[in-house]
């Protein structure tokens, strides 16, 4: 085994790691922003809207992320002329935008269903109490229902966060130089497959368990109200 070139390439690998983290955080953030209104609509929205959103989440959750990514990145090339005509081609030309779009929609779909389940778990008497205090619908949502739903959802959401953190490695397959991408470029360049993939694996391992540790702490503070004292 020869870890010399790995040590030389450490700074590049760390840059790759930074790309991975930026991609993960931005997709999770955008995904959550989309998921909250969708989940609320799925929970108490009109039937047609709820079914429509279900169709979206079903399609996203029923197909491999890799296929979605290729569909957006390579597939958009088939409509290049049309996209140029409506001025959207610049967006789909960049692998970064395609990865961001695909991963965001994916986390949005998973989080929507997750949050809907959590919203349904919030007991009705909580809403009635809010009504008795004269809260408006939006206030009930903001101050009563959503905080509780987040607390219920967090353990499962943690799993989704880890899943999507790891899934960003697919971005390397559309030429983005994230951690997996850098590792495979270096591995192919130096023929040191074992060394580079192992180093990348170790770096992912550290990140994943740091994130899990942080999430456990947040979970504890969010769920305080469930077992007071």
């Amino acid at each position: 085994m020869n870890f010399g070139p790995v040590i030389d390439g450490l700074s590049v690998l760390l840059q790759g790691l930074a790309v991975t983290l930026v991609l993960t955080v931005s997709t999770l953030l955008f995904g959550l922003l989309i998921a909250v209104p969708l989940a609320v609509a799925r929970w108490r929205g009109p039937k047609w809207l709820s079914s429509l959103i279900w169709c979206f989440t079903f399609c996203v959750r029923g197909t491999p992320l890799l296929v979605q990514l290729f569909l957006v990145y390579y597939g958009s090339g088939q409509f290049r002329d049309e996209l140029e005509a409506i001025g959207l081609w610049w967006f789909f030309r960049e692998p970064w935008n395609c990865a961001l779009l695909t991963f965001t929609l994916s986390t949005a779909a998973y989080t929507t269903e997750l949050l809907r389940g959590a919203l349904m778990a919030v007991s009705n008497s909580q809403l009635e109490a809010g009504f008795a205090y004269g809260f408006t619908g939006l206030q009930k949502l903001r101050f009563i229902v959503l905080p509780q739903a987040f607390a219920y959802a967090l353990p499962t959401y943690s799993n989704d966060i880890i899943f999507h953190l790891q899934a960003t490695s697919f971005a390397s397959l559309i030429t983005i130089e994230d951690l997996a991408g850098v590792a495979s470029v270096m591995a192919n360049k130096t023929y040191l497959h074992y060394e580079f993939y192992l180093t990348a694996a170790a770096m992912y391992l550290v990140v994943v368990y740091s994130v899990l540790f942080a999430l456990k702490r947040i979970e504890k503070s969010l769920r305080r109200f469930l077992n007071p004292g």
Partner: protein, 232 residues
């Protein structure tokens, strides 16, 4: 519409199902072994099982797959070569289909381990005590009392795992297994219609997922018969 690539897509579909079923079976076996090791094992077997799930949970499937496909042959090769001078020209190349099945099975065996562990722990102790009180022991106790309940508790986790493994087979295309995703990729390249073919592949995956969900529903109804949840 598919420029004559229909039959090839169908072939890819069979390969996808082959990889999925093969990997799922390996995962189930590893899961049972892992859960047993975690719950009943000695210090060493327990440690191995814990390390296995710990590492797999922390590393992306793509990296693990590449590690298995590229790195393990290289590693074995260099060990064999250095072991004796007559093996200097030893070469080992894993066949893509087999390595995809083994690698995915190995990866999702970790999830299966957790599913089985949870299910075993969920069996109410009173059930086993009652069985013992009736003079049941060993295989009778496991087959008649423990296993049916264990499967009921494991069912939702196992059906989720099937859907996950099914979607993960798309990764096998990365190591050149000619499954659905790879066929779509090849067809897309040859015809210059990437959207058409990736959409076709996505629809096929969605169809398998939907059929799987219907089957899972039937199995659920069957295995929850005679319980409170089944009555609902």
């Amino acid at each position: 519409m598919l420029d004559g690539y229909g039959p090839m897509l169908f072939k890819g579909l069979t390969a996808t199902l082959g990889v999925a079923v093969g990997a799922y079976c390996i995962a189930l076996v590893l899961g049972v072994l892992g859960a047993t090791a975690k719950l009943e094992g000695g210090r060493v077997t327990k440690g191995v099982a814990e390390a296995y799930t710990f590492v797999i949970r922390g590393v992306p499937e793509l990296i693990l797959l590449l590690l298995v496909f590229f790195a393990i042959p290289t590693l074995i090769q260099s060990i064999v070569r250095s072991s004796s001078p007559e093996f200097v020209n030893f070469r080992l190349e894993l066949e893509p289909f087999t390595s995809a099945v083994v690698a995915l099975g190995f990866i999702y065996g970790a999830s299966a381990t957790e599913v089985f562990r949870g299910a075993i722990q969920a069996i109410p102790l009173g059930q086993l005590e009652a069985a013992r009180a009736y003079g049941m022991y060993g295989r009778v106790l496991v087959v008649q009392v423990a296993l049916p309940q264990l499967l009921r508790f494991a069912l939702s986790g196992l059906s989720n795992l099937w859907l996950i493994v099914l979607k993960a087979t798309a990764l096998a295309s990365v190591i050149q297994v000619v499954e659905l995703m790879r066929v779509a990729n090849l067809a897309a390249g040859a015809t210059n219609k990437p959207f058409t073919f990736f959409l076709a592949a996505a629809c096929i995956y969605l169809a398998i997922s939907a059929v799987s969900l219907v089957c899972i529903k039937f199995i659920e109804v069957y295995s929850f018969r005679g319980t409170e949840q089944g009555a609902k």
